[in-house]
Symmetry: C2
Subunit: 308 residues, 2 copies
Amino acid sequence: MSYFNDIEKIKPYIHQTPVLTSTLLNEIAGCELYFKCENFQKMGAFKMRGATYAILNLSEEQRAKGVVTHSSGNFAQAVSLAAKSLGVKAYIVMPTSAPQVKKEAVIGYGGELIECEPTLQARERTASKIAQEKGATFLHPSDNLDVIIGQGTAAVELLQEYTDLDTIVTPVGGGGLIAGTVLAANAFSEKCEVIGGEPFAVDDAYRSLLSGKIETNTTIRTIADGLKTQLGEINFPIIKKHIKTIIRVEEDEIVAAMKLIWERLKIVIEPSSAVAFAAVLKDKTRFKNKKVGVIFSGGNVDLSRLPF
Amino acid sequence: MSYFNDIEKIKPYIHQTPVLTSTLLNEIAGCELYFKCENFQKMGAFKMRGATYAILNLSEEQRAKGVVTHSSGNFAQAVSLAAKSLGVKAYIVMPTSAPQVKKEAVIGYGGELIECEPTLQARERTASKIAQEKGATFLHPSDNLDVIIGQGTAAVELLQEYTDLDTIVTPVGGGGLIAGTVLAANAFSEKCEVIGGEPFAVDDAYRSLLSGKIETNTTIRTIADGLKTQLGEINFPIIKKHIKTIIRVEEDEIVAAMKLIWERLKIVIEPSSAVAFAAVLKDKTRFKNKKVGVIFSGGNVDLSRLPF
């Protein structure tokens, strides 16, 4: 049995994103790179996949009552747009501190914005209240099996296009992308290993693999704003079982990798995306002459606040 | 007889660039937009096409003696890389004031850099001296029929992929791109009109169409650094005969158009590219519900000096 038996149903609602290559970047990295460009995904990030797949898997009754999530980032926009595409009501809880541009994006995509205090507790409490009052189904951004499988469809497409990849590297934040990616690699490849990239500043996943339990971050001072979250009860067992390596990168390495992609591929990726590429550059020996897929998670950046 | 009979020969040396579309940008512009992405071209700009085609059309004897050009911009890099691909020596005259990154790019692509005083006279004199001493063939960035035809191949690809475009909009600088584009439109379409976009600050082409002779710019204060040059003796007659409309745009309109493309298409385009899109937004009535090709000329920007 495969987790991916009925993933075809998301196709009408998402983009099959392109895979870019660059001779020059291959020379710099010392391996063959295949960049899966989820920055070109609808609403600008892979999160559209998980949100869409999770909503598609709800019953008619659930769909009628809507969905609710709390997120300060891409998942808020993803649920708003996916819900709109599927005719479902979306309640989005965001901290008052979230950037105005993200709030406007949620509203623009048709989500109902509910603001709360900028603490995880307040977010969870507010979302829980809406779930109870409205009967809306709560969708966790990364710790939900349907969301995880949906995120894995980026790797499915990548492996269907390039069947002999040795490795796929993804950024690690809440754990949904890497968990979905490794499930996809196990289902669609005999040999493809999945490796994570994570900022030193928020290396909870790295430490969780070492300790065997879900670790948290004491600070969240990283430019990779999508990777500040920790692993969850559903995705951690998958990650613990299948992921052997998480490569940690410094902040300046993230910025340098991001700049290299903007300059050479001429595409806009967000810092979290650059973490996966930075991980390849950090550990060139490991990847030498291999065929390496890199998942660019998204391209939603505030152009007025660039790090270069 | 078509100018484009033997353009197939450039194919091994250039990228067939993708054409991007966006539902959201179509809604904003009120027409169907087809963005031809020469920012993804080798060395990051359409100039690679003209340089390659011009060098391919030299005799064996000419090729043996090399080529020379003067440019502070993309054409310097284009000639360097095209010459290298074809095993031809390239002498590149650049003003001492040119950005270090551009000088390094020329050297990186294998061109021989010759620096001169930052005046047009010094550039022309230096290039002319090298042409005499080395027997190298001078290649003008825009006022050379082979270069013009080479630049036109971007529009040829666009019209082969989208056969029923009503209009193609290009930026206008030295005139090579728009002249090549209109020759291509005349050869490959029954109806496609070509329109230029030009910054108000350097509207020499707009004024040249009005006066019927080549006008110059008294100032060059525009962010669109590729569009500061004036039309030439070879391309102006083509432009005068076939181009009816040049739409002028303000500097803030260029920046806004550039930002919209970066944010929504998630691609890096240079300000000169944004001028063509800004022209569409400036005159929405003209383009209403039409199928409009927009040529993004390139993506070479200094990320440390962005206008937003």
